[in-house]
Amino acid sequence: MLSYLVRRVVGAVVVLFVLSVAVFAIFYLLPGDPAQLVCGVKTCSADRLALVRQKLGLDQPVAMQYWQFVTGLVVGRDVSAGPTVLHCPAPCLGFSFQTDEPVLALITDRLPVSLSLTLGAMVLWLTIGVGGGVLSALRRGRFVDRATTALVLGGMSVPVFVSGLLLLMVFCVWLRWLPFPSYVPLGSDPAAWAANLVLPWFALALVQAATYARLTRTSMLETLAEDHIRTARAYGLRESRVVGRHALRGALTPLATMLAIDVGAVLTSAALTETLFGLPGLGQLLVQSVNTLDLPVVVGLMLLAGFAIVIGNVVADLLYAVLDRRVSLT
């Protein structure tokens, strides 16, 4: 167990290191000048450009910039912003080239949006996906099963920005049942929060629900074919108990671990939905920062995404060991 955790932490550090080096490398090895963007493409004089470069730290060698970034992350660092010197405490992700705001603050500001979107959608896709999958497996080969299978194949073929667009057209433009989504914090008005998020939730949940339904069905069919299910029947257990206590337990264990990984991948999965609905979440922030070559923000987001994915994977492993006692973590 201890050796497992140590190896996992070492693995995580390696992943994050590779990730950050890769991001730095991409932005420096390839052309494109953030200073030029900040300064303005046409109106910028050479002097001003140099000044901006210096202010952003772009005049220093790449290795130096990377070193400063890493020290900032671990112990914090001081950053000169014109005449004043700002202290950026650890974990310091630096300041945005575009807005001068601390990257960490930018991220924490937008985190609730992404979490609201993903967690809400998750409830939906679990309900629909697992429910549909179980039903489909229990009614194997019958109408419900075939209908579910068709829906699953359809659902998996609709990219989130297509389903989202169609939902918008139907519910906001034609039926006018729902407001055009804009984020309202949960704390200020829960009803408006939910009403605004309904469409993004469904859009994001649709594809995932299809994936989960398919997996649930497969997993459930496999479990139902296992010998211990036959034993449960052979000993006179009611069918509801055979399915509810014995089959579901085995069938859902792999899904729990997959869920942990998916929640870890939240930033990746939500980027398209956020962009489509104009929700000010992390995904949207990423797309914006990439388009403006805002390196510190991009690096910060990448590290966060990597971190979340690594954590998701560890949680998945732990969950698996807890849920299935045959698994031992070594």
């Binding site: 990730l19 991409i26 932005f27 194949l153 609709v158 980027a271 398209l272 388009n291 990448m302």
Partner: protein
């Protein structure tokens, strides 16, 4: 309510299940017996045909995908196409693009070209890399396997969508975009194939017919080519078939985020990206690429599903034709 009980009893038979597909002909015959797969095959074939003949088709219509037709849009209403259904007419079969008035039919068929080319190209890169590295891991020594196993895990866990976004944004426009998309999707997407190949090689390696070949004095290369590689073909083929629709979705997603194919080159994802601002005024502009994208992805998925069943993963599957 009750569910089938699996029994292990077989009477008067020595079979362990349906025979494995032994030739391409058998797979083909099984595929044709599967109705959804036939639909998938037909529509996917149509899409490929349209993509291949895109210039011909738009020439037939008498339009091209890049010419502006400002006279066909209503500048007073922000550039919504004149006429009903987004400006459908005898000259413009699917109407025109809002604001610019470019011909929608021409853009759509050319868009098919890009979407399919990127999906296929990326799949080629994914399968090539995946098979090469999976084989190296499975056939190489313990150390190589350990190292490559880690790399494969890393590639699969990598936040590839956002990384692709970053990469696409900084590569200069002079690099051909479709090629770049193929490479990026390919470079991030080979992990699954590699994992499948590695697992299959490891499982085949432990089988007794491999031991028997070694006892017969076969050199490692002969063992690999005769006893192991043929068993890898079927799982790779059935996985590669799933890669196509998922690559199409990924390409559309990146183009939607504005980092994929650059204008004026048309692509379905990029058309949808523009459509987000027009779905109130010009719904046809949304529906055309949306429905086409959906149907194409669906048909490729159906085809992949049918192919997987036809290859019969349980029995092992496709091999060279019986001599």
């Amino acid at each position: 309510m009750s569910v089938p009980v699996e029994t292990t009893t077989r009477a008067g038979t020595t079979e362990d299940g349906p025979p494995p597909a032994r030739s391409a002909r058998v797979v083909w015959r099984r595929l044709l017996a599967d109705r959804p797969a036939v639909f998938g095959l037909a529509f996917a074939g149509l899409a490929v045909l349209v993509a291949l003949t895109a210039p011909l088709l738009s020439a037939l219509e008498g339009q091209d995908p890049v010419t502006f037709h400002p006279e066909l849009v209503d500048s007073a209403r922000g550039g919504v196409p004149l006429g009903s259904f987004g400006g459908v007419s005898a000259e413009h079969w699917l109407g025109v693009e809002p604001q610019t008035g470019r011909d929608l039919f021409a853009r759509t068929v050319h868009g098919a070209q890009i979407s399919l080319a990127v999906a296929v190209g990326a799949a080629v890169v994914q399968v090539g890399l995946g098979v090469a590295l999976g084989l190296a891991a499975g056939l190489g020594g313990r150390w190589l396997d350990h190292l490559l196993g880690r790399v494969i895990d890393l590639v699969i866990a990598f936040p590839s969508l956002i990384f692709s976004v970053a990469l696409l944004a900084v590569v200069p426009d002079s690099f051909p975009r479709p090629l770049l998309l193929m490479l990026i999707l390919g470079l991030f997407g080979w992990g699954g194939t590699a994992r499948i190949v590695r697992a299959q090689v490891l499982s085949l390696r432990s089988r007794d017919h491999v031991a028997a070949a070694r006892l017969a004095g076969a050199r490692p290369a002969r063992v690999a080519f005769r006893e192991i590689l043929p068993g890898v073909v079927a799982p790779v083929l059935s996985y590669a078939a799933i890669l196509l629709p998922s690559n199409m979705i990924a390409e559309a997603g990146l183009s939607f985020l504005g980092v994929g194919v650059r204008p004026p080159t048309p692509s379905w994802g990029q058309m949808l990206s523009k459509a987000t601002t027009w779905f109130r005024g010009d719904p046809v502009y949304v529906l055309v690429p949306a429905i086409l994208l959906f149907l194409t992805v669906l048909s490729f998925s159906l085809l992949a599903d049918g192919l997987r069943t036809a290859l019969d993963p349980r029995a092992g599957g496709l091999a060279r034709r019986a001599e």
